[in-house]
Amino acid sequence: MTAKAIITMIVVLGLVWGGLILAIIRLQKMKVANS
């Protein structure tokens, strides 16, 4: 794999999966705050 492919893979997968996990955690916190 080229360096560009590795960097793109890490950035994109990190952004999407990291974003998903952070959004889920925040949503759980909001659930508690709104209840």
Partner: protein
């Protein structure tokens, strides 16, 4: 009043997180698993992936947030939602049109799931080993009575889920999503460890900078986002109807959008390396990836599974993942087409039976012949883009700024949208959607030189079917509007979840 709200709590989603997972399950369909990887690899790899993520973040997820507000604000199925959100009975037509499109989608989409169920059986019994894969698929997709029977059974199951309501959607999601994720992770772990797999990952993520300036890469990425994530076919409106008043909208929709992207990327990582590892050359791998959705799943990948060590297990996981993705979308579609019956106070039983019979009747030709299937796939794809334009129009008519300030960024929101959201929903998305429509119409001239032919993949068939859907929606506009219950939305507050009885 308090008692009524408490009672209604039992009819809506039990928590924002569950709702977000149900939205992921509904959005994720077979397109994430078999379309995203092949389109990404054949359209610039990393450039496509970057374009796809950018469009999702700045055009698709914002529009889906707006659609979610429409559902939660009106507490009505598609026709009533557009009527009450735009505020005129004439506007019922927009929702009825999208509703007809979803009906058409169910009718042919269930055929895909039927093929996948059949192939799961073949995989378990080694039924495609040593067999000509093209001939096998032709025999499955044309005149196959088993497919028709599976198709009828799936429609019955979908109608039953609609009959059981939102709690059944929650329960099924708790089973479907883990199986889907685990299946894809299992395939990914196996395929990335195959010798030669890194070549596939390189094709998926490497790119030339000039690819980012090619309109085709962006139009393909836009098409993938619209057809996969699901603005324009009503899932956000339909599930928004069941959302509790105090739950967050922006974050739930963000989870939905990121979940949809996550599954697509995971599928890419699972499938592309397998294709490259099992091909003798890059040319062969690219040829397999260029063989269309059906060609990839039922012809190319079955061949790959046959040659791969442990391929039978991989095949089982792949077809199980496809079934989970497909069936969860089917459940969402049934919820969408069921809601207007509920708004008209037609009994659940009658609605479910009516839906089952209609979808079986409409889908039987596609289950019997792939020619009908391809035609419906094309028409529905275009219909969804138009549906998304309708959502953008409804939000703009209501006032994007008013919606953002009063309904989206409310005290229960954990993620505030800035003014850029207005520009995205009212200006950026319609421009992109019109560009996409024009592009596909131009492409259709290439497939079908006799553009007027109402049975080809042509403008003629679009005019006939989408025009027909529009005319039907217009003719029954007043009847549908009158049959839908009274307006519940006062323009500034979300009404409580309505009884789903």
């Amino acid at each position: 009043m308090e008692k009524k709200v408490e009672k209604n709590k039992s009819t809506g989603f039990s928590s924002p997180l569950i709702m977000a997972f149900c939205l992921i399950a509904g959005s994720v369909g077979t397109g994430n698993i078999w379309r995203f990887p092949r389109v990404a690899a054949t359209n610039g790899g990393g450039a496509f992936v970057i374009a796809y993520v950018i469009i999702m973040l700045f055009a698709i997820i914002p529009l889906m947030m707006g659609e979610h507000v429409i559902g939660r604000a009106t507490r009505r199925g598609l026709p009533g939602a557009f009527r009450d959100f735009i505020g005129t009975p004439k506007s019922t037509w927009f929702g009825s049109f999208v509703w007809v499109i979803v009906f058409m989608t169910i009718s042919y989409y269930t055929v895909v799931i039927s093929w996948v169920v059949y192939y799961l059986g073949l995989t378990i019994t080694n039924g495609y080993v040593g067999v000509d894969k093209v001939e096998l698929f032709n025999s499955v997709s044309n005149g196959n009575i088993t497919i028709v029977l599976i198709f009828i059974a799936l429609q019955a199951l979908g109608a039953y889920m609609a009959y059981k309501g939102v709690k059944a959607i929650e329960k099924s999601t708790k089973v479907i999503l883990p199986i889907l994720f685990l299946s894809l992770i299992g395939i990914a772990i196996r395929t990335v460890t195959l010798p030669g797999a890194s070549l596939g990952l390189n094709y998926l993520f490497d790119f030339k900078v000039q690819e980012l300036f090619k309109s085709k890469v962006w139009l393909e990425a836009l098409t993938q986002t619209v057809w996969s994530a699901g603005p324009g076919w009503g899932i956000c409106i339909a599930y928004g109807v069941y959302a509790q008043r105090k739950s967050d909208i922006s974050l739930s929709t963000t989870v939905q959008g990121f979940g949809d992207m996550g599954v697509a990327l995971l599928s890419g990582v699972a499938i592309i390396p397998a294709i490259f590892a099992m091909s003798v050359s890059t040319e062969e791998a690219m040829s397999l990836l260029s063989s269309g959705n059906n060609g990839l799943a039922f012809v190319a990948l079955t061949g790959v599974f046959e040659r791969m060590q442990g391929g039978q297990l991989m095949g089982v996981l792949f077809f199980v993942a496809l079934i989970m993705a497909g069936f969860s979308s089917l459940i969402a579609m049934y919820a969408i087409i069921y809601q207007p019956f509920n708004d008209a106070k037609i009994s659940k039983q009658k609605s479910a039976i009516g839906l089952f019979l209609t979808t079986v009747l409409l889908g039987a030709p596609s289950a019997w012949s792939i020619k009908f299937f391809d035609n419906q796939d094309f028409v529905v794809g275009m219909g969804m883009v138009i549906g998304a334009i309708f959502s953008s129009y409804a939000i703009t008519r209501f006032g994007a700024e008013k919606l953002r300030v009063k309904l989206l960024n409310n005290e229960h929101s954990g993620l505030s949208m800035g003014k850029w959201w207005n520009v995205s929903v009212s200006i950026l998305f319609p421009i992109l959607a019109v560009a996409m429509l024009i592009w596909w119409l131009i492409l259709s001239f290439g497939w079908s030189p006799d553009w007027w032919n109402p049975f080809g993949l042509s403008i003629g068939t679009l005019v006939l079917q989408l025009g027909g859907a529009s005319i039907v929606a217009l003719l029954i506009n007043t009847r549908i509007s009158n049959a839908t219950g009274p307006k519940l939305f006062n323009g500034s507050e979300f009404p409580p979840v309505q009884d789903n009885e």
